[in-house]
Amino acid sequence: MASIWLIPFFPLASAVLLLLSTGRMPRQFAALLGAGSVGLAAVCVALLARAFLADQEVREVTLWTWMTVGNFTPRIAFYIDGLTVVMMSVITGVGFLIHLYSIEFMWEDESICRYFAYMNLFVAAMLLLVMADNLLLLYLGWEGVGLCSYLLVGFWYRDPNNGKAARKAFVVTRIGDTAMALGLMLLFTELGTLDIQPLLAAANSQWQTGDTLPILATALLLGGAVGKSAQLPLHTWLPDAMAGPTPVSALIHAATMVTAGVYLIARTFGLFLLAPPTQEAVAWIGLLTLLLAAFAALAQHDIKRILAYSTISQIGYMFLALGVSAFASGIFHLVTHAFFKALLFLAAGTVIHCLHHEHNIFRMGGLRTRLPVVFWSFLIGSAALAALPFTSGFYSKDAILLSAWEVPGIGPWLWAGGLLGALLTGIYSFRLVFIVFFGEAHHEPERQPGWKMALPLVLLCALALAGGLLVLPLAGVFPHTGHHQPNHLVEYISIGTPLLGLLIAYLLFLGRQVSIDTLVESPGGSALRDFWLGGWRIDPLYDALWVRPYTALAHWWRKEPLDGVYNGVVTVVQWAHHKLIATQTGELRWYATTMVFGLVLLVAIMLRNAA
């Protein structure tokens, strides 16, 4: 399989071609190239996956040595194991469906060429990220996807708010990235390599569990992961990133890029095992984030922001899984989440597309009969999101909760928190379904989705339903964690909680047995709603903490304070100049007098020396 490099190459080449055409390519051709290249990559990945499943053999491909400086020799090289294959399948598979969907979604946009170029570039970068054999190449992909995210969030650049959201996304993740870069430096300085497998081996041999250095290194890596995966405290960019086209949100901000942090931790799990405090921090960050985002999702009324918060929340589950060493479960949830969240986003995109860019769920309603395909997609997606039994989300989330339960000490707390999150997930996901698809209609859809939109929805529906049956080839990657002790009570509760959430949502939003309005309109309720609607007011907090001081500082320094010092010198010189120039009176007598004065002085000095 020396041709593994073809997999990222196809989308990359396509992106380059599309960019070089500078928008003059006919849109049919651009669409064909854009979606086709990812399709080709998907086919290659399928072939690779089949080969991998057959022999379970780790493949390593080195293209060239990036650079050699002393013992720093990062290579442009790929490392393909079970985890990589899973990630690649998700990226190219879901990616292809989303590209296909995009053709119809973006057809009328004048910049469709640019759109597909960025999307392809993203797929290429994401593939590099997961295929990288060393952390530096991973970092290349990492920053690459960040850039593409920036470009695509700000795709409709004429609205300054989109640009702002894009910048926020980039800068906030960049904060995490910088921490990660420092982590890489620490790892290289201490262990002398950045190649992941030798690195893990070296860490195992050089460091003891609980040493300071692994804790520090993993904490820095965690910083990167937290930024990219929109976890506390760097999660604020994701809801704003919904400014991009909806397929972008589906691909980048739901299925793939935001889960890169999960991938990073899973990839370097050996380090995290050496640093139990960091790992515990991962679990707590996950738990806090999943709760916080779930509460925030309850109050949103922008359809995409609800999904964005739910994404944050679901990634919180993945972090929780990583934190309790249930790596395989975390990755499993990553995969199922990619299916159902892509489905939900695409379905939401279809709603938006058909209702002419309407985002507010309260201005939708009654779409069940008017957009049946979308309704069923949404229903299946929400069911999977809420982890109703026998959907894909159920299997993965259940596994995570069980693993959390089994952690000694803090386990039950984590489990209970996760359970609360599951309840909330049930409520907010079905709140969305009930408000958008039931009730009375406010708008007639302007159009119906065509096959290019419907087909990905249907396929993703199937995956969201049946994805739980997949067996991921992760056995060779992660340590075997042992079988779960069957604890029936815990399992029943896990199954029952989402259903309870569904019931509450039904009572509140469809059945109207309990009036949600009175709840919201009570003083405490409305304050809480506004608080959650504003995402726990974290944005204004950061604004006051970082953004405004920085801009104030920049504004204060704008005119270059240091120039004052140099201008001071100039002023002194000019002052002296004016004083000295005043002696140039032009009067001959004055000159004569001063000369005589000097003469007198000189002679006096000579006399004194002679004496």
Binding site: G23, G144, Y157, R158, A181, T189, V565
Partner: protein
């Protein structure tokens, strides 16, 4: 001899360009272009395959033997890299001023070529007196470029540039004379030759002060915080070609001077001084980034970003290990290309819109997508996107620095974030947003795209396969490392550095 010929070609080419204006107004451009192409071809054609001693090439002619002054030129890997960069950016400068300069194009191109000649001389001279001569030679035509063809506030900017560099150059002259004098006291004969002055056992105090003379001259040119205030004015007011040369090459002469003279001539003093130098580097990285963020003038923003990036060079040089030194050299090359491109872009914008104020731009992407794409590319290059040359440079510097000064590294790494903030702000303000319907402007034409494309290719190459550059610089940098007595690394000074940093912040 070929090195002397190279300089001569540029000088004579300048004269020809000047005179050719009489024949036809467009001729100077072609003459200048031909001159640079010929000298580039000449440089590559006469490239030796292997080292003779420490140098790739070496020549020495008697000049003023009584004072130990010789016309001595030598080339090693780093000089070669910078020479190639100089000539390539010379081409870019000519391309960028092709339609911009109408006033006395002959004299303009003559000055351009003479600046290049001076810079080449600086990169080649290994006689300290000769070095100083070239140092001044490159200054004067540059001054004229700013003072004659600059923008609204050109006199002030040109003066400031001249006085800063001249004053610091004077300090260097003083240091050179003192050093030669000391050399005579020790070796018994007066000599300004680099090889004779290398490895002198100087009195520590005297060595420290002499080192400081060199250091100041080079850091003013670099420019390092807090000697950078000439740069935003000079860059902003200079014509496009002037900005390209200033940012792309002239700043590198400062870094080159540190690398070639300041550190090897005074290893011990430099070692003691390293924490201060690194603190200045860190301060420059952050200060430049904050001020870049605050600017509304496109060129000023890019100028401050240069201050920020050159801070990394200072960091890399004084971190003094293989990784960091390689990173510093890489940064010199990569920053030369990326900033030159940004200035060319800024010049093109100013030429088309007659303003540099980003507040009056906006939505340009719609009208000039090719310019937008170029701006995007070089903006992300300057914020250090992996896969482009600047990233390789910065990561190498930071990796090297981390080994000696983790705390400095952490602070300097903040520069990665701030770089993103100002770069993206620039893109946002100039190219995104609502386009002005009344404005019509031509996009980049083929000539400009050619220059841009070449620079993009260069940055990609540097970013993905930097090995040739690294290999060229390696012998030089390894030589630099052998100056350090084993065990006595910069890390030993870490404690002092932390204090300095604390005081600096």
């Amino acid at each position: 001899m070929s090195m002397a010929l190279l300089i001569l070609i540029l000088l004579v080419g300048g004269l020809l360009a000047w005179r050719s204006e009489k024949a036809q107004a467009n001729l100077p451009r072609w003459v200048a272009l031909a001159t640079v192409v010929i000298s580039l071809a000449f440089l590559l054609a006469t490239l030796p395959q292997e080292h003779t001693g420490n140098w790739l090439q070496h020549m020495k002619l008697d000049w003023m033997p009584r004072f130990g002054i010789a016309f001595e030129l030598a080339m090693d890997g780093v000089s070669l890299l910078l020479l190639v960069l100089t000539l390539l950016l010379g081409l870019v400068a000519i391309a960028s001023s092709w339609s911009e300069i109408d006033f006395k194009p002959g004299l303009f191109h003559a000055n351009l070529l003479w600046t290049l000649a001076g810079v080449c001389g600086v990169f080649l001279a290994v006689d300290l007196f000769l070095f100083f001569l070239f140092w001044e030679v490159m200054l004067i035509p540059m001054y004229l470029l700013i003072a004659i063809w600059g923008h609204e506030n050109k006199t002030y900017a040109a003066m400031k540039f001249f006085i800063f560099t001249q004053a610091s150059g004077l300090l260097m002259l003083l240091a050179i004379v003192v050093l030669a004098w000391q050399g005579m006291a020790i070796n018994g004969q007066l000599s300004f030759s680099y090889s004779d002055l290398l490895g002198l056992e100087l009195d520590p105090r005297l060595g420290w002060w002499t080192m400081l003379g060199f250091f100041l001259a080079f850091t003013v040119k670099l420019p390092a915080f807090p000697f950078h205030t000439w740069l935003p004015d000079a860059h902003t007011q200079a014509p496009t070609a002037g900005s390209v040369l200033l940012a792309g090459i002239l700043l590198k002469t400062g870094a080159y001077g540190l690398l070639r003279f300041c550190i090897p001539l005074f290893p011990q003093a430099s070692m003691e001084f390293a924490p201060v130098a690194m603190a200045l580097g860190v301060a420059g990285v952050l200060y430049g980034a904050v001020l870049a963020f605050a600017q509304s003038d496109f060129k000023r923003l890019v100028a401050y970003s240069s201050v920020s990036h050159m801070g990394f060079v200072l960091l890399g040089l004084y971190a003094w290990n293989q990784l960091a030194l390689q990173g510093a050299v890489m940064q010199m090359v990569a920053h030369g290309v990326s900033t030159a491109a940004l200035f060319m872009l800024a010049g093109a914008l100013q030429h088309r819109l007659h303003t540099r104020d980003m507040g009056r731009m906006g939505g340009l992407w719609h009208q000039a997508p090719r310019m937008g794409a170029c701006a995007m590319f070089f903006a992300v290059a300057s914020l250090g996107l992996p896969g482009l040359g600047n990233f390789v440079a910065e990561i190498l510097v930071l990796l090297g620095l981390f080994a000696v000064q983790p705390a400095f590294t952490a602070v300097a790494a903040l520069g990665l974030i701030t770089a993103a903030v100002y770069s993206l702000r620039m893109l946002q303000q100039a190219f995104q947003g609502v386009p002005d319907k009344q404005r019509s402007m031509p996009d980049f034409d083929a000539r400009e795209m050619l220059a841009m494309g070449a620079m993009m290719a260069a940055l990609l190459w540097l970013g993905l396969y930097p090995q040739p550059v690294l290999d060229l610089a390696r012998p030089v940098l390894e030589g630099l490392q052998t100056l350090v007595p084993p065990g006595d690394t910069v890390a030993a000074q870490a404690g002092g550095a932390a204090i300095v940093l604390g005081a600096g912040l």
